[in-house]
Amino acid sequence: MSETKTAMYICNGCGLGDRLDTDSLGKLAQSEGKCTIVRQHDFLCNRDGVDTIRRDIDDDGVTHVVIAACSRRAKTEAFGFDDVALGRANLREGVIWVRPDTEEARETTQEMAEDYVRMACAEIRYMQRPEGNPNTGDNKRILVVGGGVSGMAAAVEASKAGYEVLLVEKSGELGGWAARLYKRVPNREPFSDPQDTGVEDLVKTVEHDKNITVFLSSVITRTSGAPGQFSVDISAESGTTSTENVGSIIQASGFSNFDAARLPELGFGASADVVDQAGLELLAGKAGDGPITRPSDGKEVASVVFVQCAGQRSDKPGHLPYCSGHCCNTSIKQAMYFKDTNPDVDTLLLYSDLRTPGNGEDFYRSAQRKGVTFTKGQVREVQTANGALVVKFRDMILDDDAEARADLVVLATGQVPNSGIDIEPAAAEDENEGSGVDAASNNNAAVEVPLESVLNLDYRQGPDLPHLRHGFNDSHFICFPYETRRSGIYTCGPVRRPMDIAQALEDATGAALKAIQAVENASLGRAAHPRSGDLSFPSFRKEGCTQCKRCTVECPFGAIDEDEQRYPVFNESRCRRCGTCMGACPVRVIYFESYSVDTVGQQVKAVQMPDETEEKPRFLVLACENDAYPALDMAAQQGLQYSPFVRVVPVRCLGSVNTIWVTDALNSGYDGVMLMGCKKGDEYQCHFVKGSEMAHYRMSKIDDTLQQLQLEVERVETYEVEITDIQRAPKLIDDYVNRVNEIGMNPFKGF
């Protein structure tokens, strides 16, 4: 490794030169900070300033650069030197913008700036430029699990971009449920009639695509590895197993139909003439262009009632609490099967809210034109005595009880995801012993998903992707719909949320993009979302490790396995670089090149601690870089102020906060430590899933330590801060500072 040469560049622009004694900051960087080169510039982010830095790197061998100017969130592109280790001392948003420009404030403002310079120097000393994960795989094949519409579409779309695909289907043929549909809901103008499903064409496309290898009657019996280097066992019904290497995985395991036998009150099972939507598709397929006949006696159907939300949107045990989204359009389509053959067939659709978003509205209007009757009604019972079907319902418009006789009743039942084993309840017990984090509240109780594993991951944290709500393998994030909690494995289609063919095709295409991206990034050693492109990765010093398993248990992404001796095995390509493992490690052996217990810990220690006679307390604020830190930046931009006694350190995630930073701070005289993370709990916003929750838990445990030190527990506080808390965050700081000041100075000062 080449010799380390550190340079600091202090900007005098944006009022920094006026408000601060930058000469003394420079001297400090040289003396205490051990910077070989210290330069000042009136306007560092302009071409000349940036060129100055560039020249020092190119001609003078500078390996470590500290920019003492604005926030790391500002001028990021101008200072985007990616061939050196880079640190930023935030003197603008972090100091002068949050302090009044007055004579009295000058001294404390300068002290703030000096500390940030010391901290930046301390950080850079322990930082290395990330070199990228060397343990990469460059396999670019994509595995698609599931041969329904979603899986086939994902395969075809990935292939069109030039990627090889393995498509594994459990049954003996491609097509899934969609292949059993007579027709589909229209997806283009004029949105007025059912149209061909297109499934046959899609199957042919898959079968003729040289990039796609299809495994029928096969399941995945083992998945190991990481993005770029997964190894999967594909086992056929015949008993043969082949082991294949793939770079990423798309899980398109689809749905099962809700078991209508659970709806005896609606006559299913009691009469063959009560069918679910899938049953009606079969009848329609059998009838072709002719009239649909009823199963019991083959009589032509003259009247049919569609019961929407059958066993759905319901709190009853065994029912589905959610809406399956497609069923209103599907029933409309099915009513048209009758009307298009014989306009005289009575078709009544009983619904509570008719849900035909987008151009479904045209389809709905088309059905009205064709004479389909729509009534807002709550169906209570379908009577089946003597072979005559009577649908009893509450007519919500007339506010009266009503009934309808029918030859056939169609129940619009919902989709149940084939999402594999719910790993949370099992994992929760294990986790609780280590961290005390409550098991994710079990929203899945109402929905029984099939209990076969889809992926059989040999990960320490369970064989399948974690479920979200009601058994679906969806992402928790509105703005990042593909973010599953297992890197390089994406889901699409109705396993994510209930959906129709049109949505599944779109979703599959998106998932294929993510799968391609995963293999491209894995081969370059780069992180996936949300730290996309991050080249740092976790390592650990084996000699210090006590095999406590905390890192393996607490990793939110299942990136760490254990070897036979219970040492952690990092799968770097699965890692999202949040540092939760680093925060968890009680013996502090886990580190990233650019982010470690030292890069933060040494900043904590670098702050100059005034003795108690000076009445200048010091507070450490550890702020989540995605929410709290930007909120403080924006507060500064708005001219809001906060105490000059705080020193803010951005952290990748509150989950990466190692308690040693907190205890060290208190031992070295800080009067308090404040943690600002994002929202935890069921509606968590933490982009590393559990980071904020972990931090809250760990800090609750630190109380014992504080009491042993005879320090007040109020000195350490953890807050949930949103990025929009622009006004609240500074106030939170000031209120906290005032509260601790009332308790008094930390007695450890000066020791």
């Binding site: 985007g80 949320r497 990025i723």
Partner: protein, 430 residues
């Protein structure tokens, strides 16, 4: 962000809202070069104007921060703001796109120090707040604005205010003689993500949006909740600045209506359910605070049902199944009266409210047929997938009325379609 040279392997993304940003980032993170064109001075689109997302009630800027960080870190994306496409020539794999860039009068030297805004006194309507607020004519579009760079409104570019702003800038960032610029860019594929605009509520005459101050749109109401918005984060009536406690929400304002938008805009039910929770946030247990939602069908599709149930359990919210017939107002108090029939049982009503929020529908900002003459669209102007479109792919709300989650999915899919084209181009050139 860098000055990448555009070739026919470059992907051009038009529109920098959540869909365009997503398409650009997802594409670039697959190793492709991207040019992102945004009409406004900053990217982020309508999502940055949202106070909260449904159903999590989380903050849109949280995800934006991640996206901006991705953008700042990715040298493959070049962002052009205040830019619009004027013409598209060529075919799939080989487009030449004419782009026009309006002058910002502020160059890349800007440090966003704010000195120019301090010396400028002229004010303009703030488009970020749907013109409900005035801002200085030298401005940063909003707190999260990216690029983080000021803009000078053309109205002050001149000898007085303009020169004053220029003199205040120590960094030569203000260029009063900046001219409109015309560019020609090569691109192999184009992702069209120009998003949506709220339906013009004034066209729904019976609701009197253009006549009654206390009839506002859902997008305006959303801005009112922002502490930095026009009412400082409070639900204040436009007529008298008093707190609105008894609020009506009218669903399908313009949507599902052959006289206006014939499609269902999909998001409005959820947006209203979300906005109804703001009453609890604002007024706590104050029993006078009441939201009344006038609806035809509540379309809380798939897992959104959970959120609907939560709102149904809220004593502050009641539901009336009705298409409101018309609105009148009390000339003195400016209270609004909603007239109609509750179709559940056919009861006529004549209800008084402090404020009425119209859940306005979505229409495409740019209609498909306006793009280059041969992009297929549905009757509402949303882009349809069609072979005739060549390598112009609709993404997000340019292609359908979508919520954020679905728009991002759509944008991710569009990214792959574009990549398929440029990969073919690359293969052909090897």
């Amino acid at each position: 962000m860098t000055d990448a040279v555009a070739t026919n392997e470059t992907i051009l993304v038009v529109g920098g809202g959540i869909s365009g940003l997503t398409a650009a980032l997802e594409t670039a993170e697959c190793g492709k070069n991207v040019i992102l064109i945004e009409k406004n001075p900053s990217v982020g689109g309508r999502v940055s104007q949202l106070y909260k997302y449904f159903p999590k009630l989380c903050r849109p800027s949280c995800g934006q921060e991640i996206n901006y960080r991705r953008l700042k870190a990715n040298k493959r994306v070049r962002v052009l703001t205040m830019a619009e496409v004027v013409n598209i020539k060529g075919a799939a794999g080989d487009y030449t796109v004419g782009v026009s860039i309006r002058p910002r009068y502020v160059n890349e030297n800007c440090t966003s120090c704010g000195a120019c805004a301090e010396v400028v006194s002229a004010e303009i309507d703030d488009p970020f707040n749907y013109n409900m607020k005035k801002i200085k004519a030298a401005y940063l579009p909003h707190n999260m604005a990216y690029p983080q760079r000021y803009v000078l409104d053309p109205s002050i570019v001149g000898p007085e205010e303009g020169e004053r702003a220029k003199a205040a800038c120590k960094y030569d960032a203000i260029e009063l003689d900046m001219q409109e610029q015309a560019l020609e860019l090569k691109a192999g594929a184009i992702i069209w993500a120009t998003g949506w605009k709220p339906y013009d509520a004034a066209k729904i005459q019976p609701y009197g949006y253009d006549r009654f101050p206390n009839v506002v749109t859902s997008v305006e109401f959303e801005r009112m909740m922002d502490p930095f918005g026009p009412t400082g984060g409070r639900m204040l009536r436009p007529s008298d600045g008093k707190e609105a406690r008894n609020i009506a929400f009218i669903q399908c304002a313009g949507s599902r209506d052959r006289n206006h938008l014939k499609h269902c805009s999909r998001i409005c039910c959820m947006a209203t359910l979300k906005q109804s929770t703001y009453l609890q946030e604002q007024y706590g247990d104050d029993s006078e605070a009441q939201a009344t939602i006038y609806y035809i069908d509540i379309r809380a599709i798939d897992r959104f049902e959970d959120f609907y149930k939560k709102v149904q359990a809220d004593p502050k919210v009641r539901f009336v199944k009705s298409k409101v017939a018309n609105i009148t107002e009390d000339r003195d108090t400016h209270d609004v009266f909603l007239h109609g029939v509750n179709t559940e049982g056919y009861h006529r009503y004549d209800n008084t409210h402090d404020l009425c929020v119209l859940a306005v529908g979505m229409e495409p900002s740019v209609r498909a047929e306006q793009i280059n003459g041969n992009v297929a669209g549905d009757a509402s102007g949303f882009i349809e997938m069609h072979e005739a479109n060549g390598a112009i792919f609709g993404a997000g709300c340019a292609s359908n009325a979508l919520d954020v989650n679905r728009a991002v999915q759509s944008a991710t899919a569009a990214a792959l379609r574009a990549i398929q084209v440029v990969n073919r181009v690359a293969g052909a050139e090897v």
